[in-house]
Structures are given as structure tokens and as C-alpha cells.
Amino acid sequence: MPMPMPMTMPRQSSNSQDHHHHHHCNHYYHFLFIFTLLFSAVSAANIEVLTLLSWIHTSPSLSSSFSNWNSLDLNPCNWSFITCSSKGFVTEINIQSVHLAIPFPSNISFFLYLQKFIISGANLTGTIPPTLGDCTSLLVIEVSSNSLTGSIPASIGKLQNLQNLKLNSNQLTGKIPPELGNCTNLKNLFLFDNYLTGNFPVELGKLSSLEVIRIGGNKDISGSIPDELGNCQNLKVLGLADTRVSGSIPASFGRLGKLQSLSIYTAMLSGEIPPELGNCTELVDLFLYENSLSGSLPRELCQLQKLERLLVWQNNLVGIIPEEIGNCKSLRIIDLSLNSFSGSIPRSCGNLSQLEELMLSSNNISGSIPSDLSNATNLMQLQLDTNQISGPIPQEIGLLTQLTIFFAWQNKLEGSIPSALSGCISLQAVDLSHNSLTGSLPPGLFQLQNLTKLLLISNGISGPIPPEVGNCKSLVRLRLANNRIRGQIPKEFGDLTSLNFLDLSGNCLTGPVPDEIGNCTGLQMLNLSNNTLGGNLPSSLSSMSRLEVLDMSTNRLGGSIPGSFGKLTSINRLILGGNMLSESIPPLLGQCSSLQLLDLSSNSLSGSIPYELFNIEGLDIALNLSLNELTGAIPPQISGLSKLSILDLSHNKLEGDLMPLSSLENLVSLNISFNNFTGYLPDNKFFRQLSATDLEGNQGLCSQGRNSCFSNIPRTPNNLKHSRRLRLAIALLGAVTLAMAILGAVAVFRAQKIIKDDNDSEIGGGHSYSWQFTPFQKLNFSVEQVLKCLVETNVIGKGCSGIVYRAELENGEIIAVKKLWPTTAAECNCHNNRVGVNRGFRDSFSTEVSTLGSIRHKNIVRFLGCCWNQNTRLLMYDYMPNGSLSKYGYMMKITEKSDVYSYGIVVLEVLTGKQPIDPTIPDGLHIVDWVRRKRYGAEVLDPSLRTRPEFETEEMMQTFGVALLCVNPSPDDRPTMKDVAAMLKEIRHQREESAKVDMLLKETLKNNEQQSYNGGPSATVQQIYSRSNNSSFSASSLLYSSSSNPRTTLK
């Protein structure tokens, strides 16, 4: 196996004498110098050997097809890809579809006799060297489908013999060099699919030999097409598609008597199609689509006997389609879609015996479909949609046995669907929607064995669906919506196992929904809405596991909703509204985990709303249960629907308060009108913006003087329990972390002052209510002083639950005061159970206050105290200068889970001995991010705690785990305080267990002193361990599940 010679290009300046024949290229001398040193016998052929080897050598993975490229050969004439002249000079390099991944050979000009240079599909990189222009023998340059960059060297213009220049499908940039106009023998110019820019060079018009010009796919080639191109008498192909060439098509093109293909689509051509093109008698392909051509289709084009494809869609063409088009006998494809052609479909189209596609969509074509069209027996596609075509569909269309696609939707077609259509045995897709077709469905239509799509939406089709529908097993999409179809749904639908989309909505169908529909296991969409279907909802529907949309709304369906619908795991939209469904909503519907929209409105559903529905996390579009007879309260689990946009519970008999709705933060529309709801409204922006009509008809709901009906901190009834849990957890933490005094109970000093307020109408609301004041710190100011500061000019922020003021007190101290939105129980005269609700509200306010008061930590602004009267509640905090408003905002959004977060922060502070934002934490990280970054290693512990006995540090690390769960970024993923308490308890429990184990172990060891325990603990001990480990759930099992438990190591 010959090794390619390792070779580096010398960089030193050459002072060697030129004792060889002269050459244009300077590189030559460099190379030759080295060469002379290495070899005694100098021959030109060996230069070629050396050049080729040094070039190919750089390839990272050389194909085995180069194995005969031997450095010891005198010439490369027997090498693969190489052809030589009789004198032993390389005349042809031809490497195609071989992966090289090397730069363009830089010393190409060494090959003085090179005629064909072809390296295509080889991932050639780099630029084309200008020295290529020195290879004056070149006839063919073909380096297409590579990764060449840079511009096309102007020096190529020196190649007088060049016939083929193929640089297509690279990444070439720059302009097309006008010098190419000097390559007088050029026949084929392929520059397409590059990044070339600039104009089409006029100079190319000088090249009378040119046969093919392909410059398309250079998206930045612009300017007009030069008239001079009409001089290229031999031109057969002109490709300029997908460029930005503009202006009109030169009339001079009429002189191109050999032109076969004119391909200038997806460009910016304007003006009219020159009638002179009718002189291009050799024209086969005329591709001018996606331009801005105007005017009409010139009659002269109809002289083109060889024209096969006429594609001029998406232009601004007007006028009629010339009747003479029937003269273009070779036409196979006519696409005139998306223009403004008028007049009727030329009858002469029937003469086009080769015609395969007639596409006239989206024009203004009128008249009727000519029956003569049936003579074009090769017709495969007939697309006439979105026109003004009227009259009946001719019976003769049935003669088109090759027809696969027949689209005529959005026209004015009348009469019935011809039964003869069943003669079009190749039909795959028929869309005749949005016409005025009448009569009944011809049963023969369903004998078509290739028919996959049948769309007849919005016509006047009457009569029944023939049972033959079951024969059309190929059907994938059947839409007969909005017609006047009568009778029952044939049970034969069950045979259509390929059916994917069945829409029979908006008809007059009666009778039951056949059980057999459940056999259509491929169904993804079933819409039977707006009929008069009766009977029950067949539970067989639940076997359609792929069903995504089920719409049975506005029928006369009775009975209950089958619980088995819970098996519809793919269902996305379940719409059963406007029926006579009764009984309760099956809780199993909660298993439809893909549901995004559930509409059960306007039925007779009773019972309470099953909370299981609220397990459907993705239910984000709408939940409509309105106009039923539902009772009971809204289950608090509704807070699980955090993504829900629209909720309609109106016109039921629901009761209880609306607090469970307060956490539906994505709500955009809510209607709870006409129920028996009671109590206050959750105080948030959404409820404040809700219109009265969405709330009306609830006698027990605070609605008069709406402003006073907002309960500030919506709490569920277990709120009290929650705060008890919080305290319990704090106590537990204290025990575990060994007297961390920071969390010691804060003595709440309740100094209740009674202050007259008669000067501030804003605060007093016109009444004089006495003030209660609860400071949580030692405070040197009075309520009166605070009240004076609550003026508009001191407002520093407004939030969901109140306004924040900056209050400068007489002693110079500055505090922030949050005034919660007013909630005056006294004004709520409408309320029957005033005292109870009032107490509930007071409780939640107090809870918030006591929670905040007992957590005095840096991550939360220091809470100084609160004061309230019947109108107003004020919370007072340390003033944080500019930019800290968000922290007050934080205060405004205390929820159960943010309490958990705060608790987690407190624990982290205790264990690390650091503040949430601490100068000793590097990079200004927040404590949470820092601890996470430390991967929970023991170094996060406060140094003073690290010296504690091992079992204690371990417990601390476990407590760490609990804390990290609490500060999970997603509130949903945080544990509840109940969980936290349980976990902390477990940590202590473990210690007690382990103490027992230790004791037992000591005993065992004492009793078995002679026993070596190298083999591990005794069976007894193992048993004890396994028992204690199995029974324990702890944070460590989450965090240290893979690490060994230190306690299992015998000491």
C-alpha cells in the first residue's frame, strides 16, 4: 500500500533558477524547487503525480478507490479518476460522488493539458482559485454539489475553449462575472443553487453557442432579464426561478427558435406575457408561476404544438382562457390557479387527449363544466374550486376513468351529484363542498374502492345515507356536514375501519347512534352535532382509543354519560352540550387526561361536580357545565385547573363560596351567574374586572357595592389547620436543628389602641371607625402618624391586593404601608350570614398577620405591624428603597405554597448560617441557587455545625433535603406543610430507631465477640436494618437514594 507522500508547502521565497519551460503561475516555482530537491529525474508528468498526491493526501478519510494512486508511479495515467493524453499528460480528472472533504486543488494550473475537470458531489471546500483560468485547454469545468465558497473567478473568462461550466449547488457568493461573456464556446452554464448576487450579465447575450443557462435558486440575483439574451439563438433552456429578477419577459425571446424550457417561476416578473413566445415553436415547458405577471394569456401561445406544461399559477392574469388552447395538442398540465381569469372553461380542453391535470382553482371562471371535458380521457386531476362555476356536474364526467382528484368546492354548482360519478373508478378525493347541490347521495359513489376523501359540506343534499357507505372501505375522511340528510346513521359505518374523520353535523339525522360506530377504531374525529339523534350515548364509543374530538352536541340524546368514556385517553374535546343527558357527571371522566375542552352544558345533569375532573391538568381551553341541575359546592380541587381559560358554571344550583376559584390564574372568562353561591368574591384583578352579568342571580353572593365584596386573602376552610401545621413544623425544626434561636417564638405584643379617625376621609370612608393596632416590633409611632402619610403623592406601588405607600414618620423613620383593598363587612347588607363570614374573613386576615409576624427574616421584608378598622387594613413593613417594590409585590401574593417556600428559606438560613443574599456567597447567588450548585455537599452547612456528631450532621443534611423540596421553583412541586412535618418527624424517628439499633448492635457484638464481622453484620442486625429502612420515608431517600447510608457502616 503506497503511502501518500507527506508534503508541506515551502514558504521561503524561491531563488531557484528557472531552467524549465516558462509558466504563468508563480506557485509553480515554489513547488518545483522542492520537487527538484527530492527527485533527480524531472518530468512534467511527475509534477502531476506530486500535485495530485499532495492534494488528495489532505482528505481525512480517503476512499479505497484511490489505492492505486502510487507515489512511485512516473505518471498518474493508470490511476483511477484520471485520463491522460497519448503523451502521458493528464487530460481529465473525473471524480464524482466520492466523499473527499478537501479544498479545491490549489495547483490546478499545473495541468497544462487538462480538458475535463469534474469533481462533483465530493464535498469540495474552499474557493475556486483564479489560476483555474490558466488551464487554457479546459473544455469542461464541473464542480457542482460541493461546499465551495467565495466568488466565481473572472479569470474563467480566459477559457476560450470552455463549453461546460457547472458550478451549481455550492455556496458561491458575489456577482456572475461579466467576463464569462468571453467564453465564446460556452454551451452549458450551470450556476443554480448558490448565493450569487447582482444582475444577470448582459454580456451573456454575446454567447451564440449557449444552449442551457441555469441560474435559478440564487435568491439575491435581481434586476431585469436583458433583451440581448434573445440573441442566443441556440438557447434551449433558460432557468431563472427562485430569484428576484424583475421587469418583463423580453419580447426578444420570440427569436429563441430552439427554446424548450423557460423556467422563471417564484420571481418578481411583471408586465404581460409576450405574445412573441408563440414563435418559440420548440417550447415544451413554460413555468412562470408565482410572479406578478398581468394581462391575459396570449392566444399566440396556443400555436405551441409541443407545449406540455403550462404553469402560470399565482399571477395577476385576467381575461378569458383562449378557446384555441385546444390546439396545443401536447398539453399535459395546465395550471392557471390563483389568477383572475374569467369566462368559461374552453370546450376545446376536451381535445387535449394528453391532458392529465387541469387546474383552474381560485379564479373568476363562470359558466358550466363542459361535458366535452370527458373526451380528455387521460385527465387525472380536475381542480375547479373557488370560482363562479354554475350548472350541473355533467354525467359524462363518469367517463374519466383516470380521474383521481376532483375538486369543485366553492362554486355555484346545482343539480344532483351524478350517479355516473361512480364510473370514475380511480377517484381518490372528491370535494364538492359549498355549492348548491341537491338530490340524494348516489349509492354508487360508495363503490369507489380508492376513495379516501369525500367532502360535500354545505350543500342541499337530502335523502338518507345509503347503507352502501360500508362498502367504501378506503374512506379516511367523510364530511357531509350542513346538508339536509335525513334518516338514521347506517350501522354499516362500523365497517369503515380506515375512517379517521367523520363529520355528519348539521343534518336532520334521527334515531340512535349505532353501537357499530365503536368499531371505527381509527376514528380521530367524530362530529354528529346539530342533528336530532335520540337514544343513549353508546358506551361502545369508548373503545375508540384514538378519538381526539367527539362532538355530539345539540341532539336529543338521553340517559347518562357512560363512565367508560374515561377510557378515551386521546380525547381532546368532548362536547355533549344541548342534549337531554341526565344523572350525575361520571367521576371517571377525570381519566380523560388529554382533555382540553369539556362542554356538558344544556343538559339535565344533576349531583355535584366530581372533583376528579380537576385532575385533568391540561384542561386549558374551556369547561362548560352551564344550564344543568348541578348542586353542591365547587370542589376546592378546581385549583388544579391552573391553565383553564374559560369556565362557565352558570344556571345550575351550585352553592358555597367562590374562594376555590381564586387560584385559577389563567381564567379569561368566567360565568357563575344564576346559582346559589354565597359569600365574598376572591380579591384579585380578574374578579375585580368581572362584569356584573357574570355574577348575577346568586342571592347569597355579595354583589351590591362590589368594591366591598372582595375577600383579601382567599383561604380554604383548612386554613386554620394549615397554620397549625406551620407552627408544628417550626417547632419540629427547632428540635431538629438544636436550638436555633432565630425561630424562637416571637412574643406578640398586642397593644390595642383606639384612635379616632375623623380627618382622613379616604381612610375613614366618611365614617369614623376606631382603629386597632398590633405592632410586631417595638414601634415609636402612632397609627395617626401613619394615616397622615397615606396620600396619593406617597404611593409607591399598586398591586393585586392593595396600594403601597411610603410613610415618613415624625421621628424620621421611613416605613412602607400596604393598604389592602377595602372590605367592609358593614357595607355588605345583602349578606345573610354576615357574622359567620365576617369571622371567616377576620380569621384569614389574622392568620396572614400572625404568619408574617412570626417569620422575621431577611428574605421577606421585616413586618412591623398592622392596624385595621372596619373599612381599612394596613400592613406596615420596613421601607426598602428604590427597586424593591417587587418585594412588596411578593408580600401581596402569599399563598400556601409560598409559605412553604419561605419556610424552606428559613431552614436553609438556619443550616447554612447565611442570609438569602449573603456577601459570603460567591457570584451574588441566591442561597437556593448556591446550595443547589454545591450539590448538597456537607460544606454548605454552617461551619459551626459541621463539628456535630455524625448522626446529627446527617439529620441536618436530611433536613436540608426537606428544605430543598420546599424551595422547589414550581409551587406545585413543593410539599404541603403536612408533608414537611411528616418528613421532619421521620428524621427524628429514624434517629430513635438507629439509637435502638446501636444498642442492639452493641449487645450482639458483646455476645458474639469471637465472631468476625468482616462478612457483614449478623442476620439479626440485618433484619433490624431492613425493617427500619423499609418503614421509613425520608427526604434522604429522595436525595441520597443512591448513596450509602453511613449508619449501615459498622463502627
Binding site: S645, E665, N666, Y890, S944
Partner: protein, 224 residues
């Protein structure tokens, strides 16, 4: 009389033109929305065939699953959360003039957020959270005057939080947490509502210093 007839014919012509323009417009409109969504489909990798029903040959995309239209057959929602999609978003998404909800959360979509989303004048909710989006948050999102929910959290978005977002006064929920955002958090305009929770897990400058901490207790000697 002649004048009357001329007026009649002129107004009839005007009406005709109007109808014509409207028809043309509505046709193009329907197709362009389907084209825009189809462009999205072709740029996404869809191993679960969630987009199987997205048939570009249909008149409009209103029968495609996970797409919702209004009564004028214009797209109002695209719901593709948790759909195991990867690939990139496309600028054509800006061509859905009535889009209210763009829900593409919890996928593995990469690339940048196209600035053209700022053209969606009716957008209420933009949920792109839990993806692999990178690049900056386009300032054009500040044009979305109906936007209520903007959740871009848990991506790898970088750059600063565009100040233009503070002009979106309709904004109710903002979550930019867990990205690679730098700079400062705007505090004015609509941002006065939002808490640090909306911004955690970024490289944003620390909030202004809280009051000086009490002198830190000297480390007690280790217990013996």
C-alpha cells in the same frame, strides 16, 4: 334619471368590488394561516405524530387537531403543550392575526423565539416554558397589548429582559425564571406587579441591597 342610474350602477360596482376584495382576501387569509402552521409543522420533529391531522391541502386548518378557530375560520388557539415536539419555531407564526393562545410548553423545542410573534396583536397567552429555546427575548413582544400570560421559564434564553415588556399593561402572569438572562429586572410599568419568583434562576443583577444586615456573629469555636 340618467344620473340616478349612474349612481346606482356606480354603487353596485363599488359593492361588487368590495365583495370581490373581501372574497379574495378571505380566501388568501384561510390558506395563509394553514401555510403558516404547516411551516411550523415542517420545522418540528413530531415523534408521536401529534401533527398527523395537519393536512396542508385542506381549505383551512380549522379541522386540524390542536388548532382552534373562531367562527370566521381564523385560528385562535394552537395547543401543543406536552406533545414531545422538538425542532424550531418559525417566523410564519406571526401570520396568525387572530391567535390568542400559543401553547407550546413542555416540549424540547430549540432555536430562538421569532420576533414576528410580536405581530400577534390578539395574543392573550404565550406559553413556551420548559423547552430548549435560546437567544434573547424579542423586544417585539412588548407590542402585544392583549397579552396576559407570558411564561418563558425553564429555557436557555439569554440577553436582557426587554424593557418594552413593561408596556404590556395587560400582563397578569410573567415567568422568566430558570433561563440565562442577564442585566437588571425592570421595575416599572407592568413589572411592578411581579415578584422575584418570576425571575429566579437567571444571571440577573441582584436586587438592590436590603438594609445592612446585623453584624454577623463571629464563628463560635468548634465544640470539642
Amino acid at each position: 334619471m340618467e344620473l340616478f342610474a349612474r349612481t346606482i350602477s356606480a354603487s353596485a360596482l363599488a359593492l361588487l368590488c368590495l365583495i370581490l376584495v373581501f372574497t379574495l382576501f378571505s380566501t388568501v387569509y384561510g390558506n395563509s394561516e394553514g401555510d403558516a402552521l404547516n411551516a411550523l409543522k415542517t420545522n418540528l420533529v413530531d415523534p408521536n405524530n401529534v401533527l398527523q391531522s395537519w393536512d396542508a391541502t385542506l381549505v383551512n386548518p380549522c379541522t386540524w387537531f390542536h388548532v382552534t378557530c373562531n367562527s370566521d375560520n381564523s385560528v385562535t388557539r394552537v395547543d401543543l403543550g406536552n406533545a414531545n415536539l422538538s425542532g424550531q419555531l418559525v417566523p410564519q407564526l406571526g401570520q396568525l392575526p387572530n391567535l390568542q393562545y400559543l401553547e407550546l410548553y413542555s416540549n424540547t423545542i430549540s432555536g430562538t423565539i421569532p420576533s414576528e410573534l410580536g405581530d400577534l396583536a390578539n395574543l392573550v397567552s404565550l406559553d413556551l416554558y420548559f423547552n430548549n429555546l435560546s437567544g434573547s427575548i424579542p423586544g417585539s413582544l412588548g407590542n402585544l397589548q392583549k397579552l396576559r400570560f407570558l411564561r418563558l421559564n425553564n429555557n436557555t434564553l439569554s440577553g436582557t429582559i426587554p424593557n418594552s415588556l413593561t408596556n404590556v399593561y395587560s400582563l397578569q402572569v410573567l415567568d422568566l425564571s430558570y433561563n440565562h438572562l442577564t442585566g437588571t429586572v425592570p421595575v416599572n410599568g407592568s413589572f411592578s406587579l411581579f415578584t422575584p419568583i418570576s425571575f429566579v434562576g437567571n444571571y440577573l443583577a441582584s436586587p438592590p441591597p436590603s438594609p445592612p444586615p446585623p453584624p454577623s456573629p463571629s464563628t463560635p469555636p468548634s465544640s470539642s
